[in-house]
C-alpha cells in the first residue's frame, strides 16, 4: 500500500474541513472493507484517509418521534441486524444488511459505505430505495438531502460533491399495513455478490388492496434502478398472480444487465422477473400481518 495520511476527527465540521482541504486526495474511511482492499490493489489513489468512526453523531442508530430510523454513517451492519425494532419494522433492510459478507465483514462494513462504494450489486441499496430512504450529506456549504435512488450516478460514482460527507441515511416511518422485503440470487448461500437483488415495499389499504409500492433492482444496470412502472401496476390490485406477473414483466423491461462471470445478461433479465414476483409476494404477506 502506498503511503497515506490518517485523520480521525471528532466532529462532522472537522471531517468536512479535512475533506474539503484535501480535495480529491482524501477518502472517508468507515468500515474499510472495500476501501482498504482497493488501496492495497492500487485501484484507489487516496493519499489521506478520514476515519469517521470517532464521530459520536455518526455512530448513532436512532428512531425519532415520527418513527423514522436514522442510520449514522459509521454504523456497522451488525448493529442494524441485531436491532430488534429494525428487524420488526424494516425486515427487508435488515435482511439486506445481514447478507453482506461474513461475520467478520458485518463487524465493520457500514450501510453508508455500501452506498458510497457505489456498486450496482450492493445489497442494502435496493432495500433502502424500496423504503424511500434519504441520504443526508454535509458539505462546506451546509447540509442537503439526496433520495437514495438519485445517490448513485455510475459504478463507483455518487452524487456527493467534493468535500461532502454522507452523515446518515434516514428511513422514513413505515405506513400502516406496509412491509418490505429484499432477496438476492447468488450461487452460494454466503460470502457472495448478488447476480440480481430486488427490494420492494408495499402498502395495503384497509380492504387489502395495494395503495402504494416501490421496487428497486440491483445488479441489472450500471446503478441500482427504481422501477416505478413495475410498482405502478400493483396499485389498486390485491397483489394477485396476474398483478405480480405484470410487475415482473415491467421490471424485466427496464433491466439492462451485462454478461459477466456471474451470469449472462438473459439469465439476469429472467431472474429479475422471478425475484420481483417473490419479493413483492413476501412483502405483501408481511404487510398482511404474516411473520
Amino acid at each position: 500500500m502506498h503511503e497515506i495520511r490518517y485523520s480521525a476527527p471528532a466532529t462532522v465540521p472537522e471531517a468536512v474541513a479535512l475533506l474539503a482541504a484535501d480535495g480529491g486526495a482524501a477518502r472517508v474511511l468507515a468500515g474499510g472493507t472495500d476501501l482498504l482492499i482497493q488501496l492495497r490493489a492500487g485501484t484507489c489513489p487516496a493519499r489521506h484517509l478520514i476515519d469517521v468512526k470517532r464521530i459520536t453523531e455518526l455512530a448513532r442508530l436512532e428512531w425519532d418521534a415520527s418513527g423514522a430510523l436514522h442510520v449514522g454513517a459509521a454504523v456497522p451492519c451488525w448493529r442494524l441486524a441485531e436491532d430488534r425494532r429494525a428487524r420488526a419494522t424494516f425486515p427487508g433492510l435488515v435482511e439486506a444488511a445481514a447478507l453482506i459478507g461474513s461475520t467478520q465483514i458485518q463487524s465493520r462494513a457500514t450501510i453508508a459505505g455500501n452506498l458510497c462504494n457505489g456498486s450496482p450489486a450492493a445489497d442494502t441499496t435496493p432495500a433502502l430505495i424500496a423504503l424511500g430512504a434519504v441520504c443526508v450529506a454535509q458539505g462546506p456549504r451546509g447540509s442537503r438531502e439526496i433520495p437514495c435512488e438519485s445517490f448513485l450516478l455510475a459504478p463507483g460514482r455518487t452524487a456527493l460533491q467534493p468535500g461532502e460527507l454522507l452523515t446518515e441515511v434516514r428511513v422514513p416511518a413505515p405506513a400502516p399495513r406496509s412491509a418490505d422485503c429484499y432477496q438476492r440470487f447468488t450461487p452460494r448461500n454466503e460470502m457472495d455478490i448478488a447476480v440480481v437483488g430486488v427490494g420492494a415495499s408495499v402498502m395495503l389499504g384497509p380492504d387489502g388492496r395495494c395503495t402504494a409500492a416501490r421496487i428497486a433492482l440491483g445488479a441489472v444496470a450500471p446503478t441500482v434502478l427504481l422501477a416505478p412502472d413495475a410498482a405502478g401496476v400493483l396499485v389498486g390490485t390485491t397483489l394477485d398472480d396476474a398483478a405480480l406477473d405484470r410487475a415482473a414483466e415491467a421490471a424485466r423491461a427496464i433491466a439492462r444487465p451485462i454478461s459477466d462471470m456471474r451470469a449472462p445478461a438473459d439469465y439476469r433479465r429472467e431472474l429479475t422477473g422471478v425475484l420481483v414476483r417473490r419479493v413483492v409476494a413476501e412483502a405483501a404477506r408481511r404487510a398482511r400481518g404474516g411473520k
Binding site: 500500500m1 502506498h2 503511503e3 497515506i4 495520511r5 490518517y6 480521525a8 474511511l29 474499510g32 472493507t33 482498504l36 482492499i37 488501496l39 492495497r40 484517509l49 476515519d51 468512526k53 451488525w78 459478507g101 461474513s102 461475520t103 467478520q104 465483514i105 463487524s107 465493520r108 448461500n189 454466503e190 460470502m191
Partner: protein, 169 residues
C-alpha cells in the same frame, strides 16, 4: 522515512503501545512489530478469515483494519485465548476432535468461534456453519471444526453450571 504514529491499545488484556505507519494493517503490526504470529495472512482481502481477531469483542479481519484504527480499543488475538498453560475449551476441543491439519486457518477459526460462543453459548449446527462462513479451511474440511465448536460450547455451558436453553428447532 514515513511518519510513524504512536498507538496505545489493550492487547490481550494488557496495555500496549507501538509505533506504526498509517498504511500498516493491524495484522502487519501484530505479526511484524509485536511478534504475535498466531494471526495469519491468507488472502489479504477479507475473504479467508485466517487473520481474525476480536476488536472490542467483535470478530474482524485484521487485514482489513489499519493499526491506527485500533487506538484506544481492545484487541484479542489467538494468543490471548489460553489462560497461561491452560488452553481455552475451544483449543482443547479442536485438539480432541482433530479439527486441524496444516493449522493455518486454526487461529482464525478459534477466534471467530470464541466470538460466536461469547454471544451465543448454545448455537445450533446451522448457526455455527453460518457464523463461521467467513473462515476458510483447505485441508481438514469443516465437519470436524463444526463438531469441535459444538463440543466446546457444551463444555463451556457445563462449566457454567447450565444445560443451555431449550432448543426450538
Amino acid at each position: 522515512m514515513a511518519i510513524r504514529t504512536q498507538v496505545s491499545l489493550t492487547l490481550n488484556d494488557e496495555a500496549t503501545d507501538f509505533l506504526c505507519e498509517p498504511r500498516q494493517t493491524l495484522l502487519e503490526v501484530l505479526r511484524d512489530e509485536l511478534d504475535l504470529t498466531g494471526s495469519k495472512e491468507g488472502c489479504a482481502t477479507g475473504d479467508c478469515g485466517a487473520c481474525s481477531v476480536l476488536l472490542d469483542g467483535r470478530v474482524v479481519c485484521s487485514c482489513l483494519v489499519l493499526a491506527v484504527e485500533a487506538a484506544g480499543r481492545e484487541v484479542t488475538t489467538v494468543e490471548g485465548l489460553a489462560d497461561g498453560e491452560r488452553l481455552h475449551p475451544l483449543q482443547t476441543a479442536f485438539l480432541e476432535h482433530a479439527a486441524l491439519q496444516c493449522g493455518v486457518c486454526t487461529p482464525g477459526f478459534l477466534v471467530a468461534a470464541k466470538a460466536l460462543l461469547d454471544r451465543n453459548p448454545d448455537p445450533s449446527e446451522r448457526e455455527v456453519r453460518y457464523e463461521l462462513a467467513g473462515n476458510l479451511c483447505r485441508c481438514t474440511g469443516y465437519d470436524k471444526i463444526v463438531r469441535a465448536v459444538l463440543a466446546a460450547a457444551r463444555t463451556m455451558r457445563e462449566a457454567n453450571g447450565g444445560g443451555g436453553r431449550a432448543r426450538g428447532e
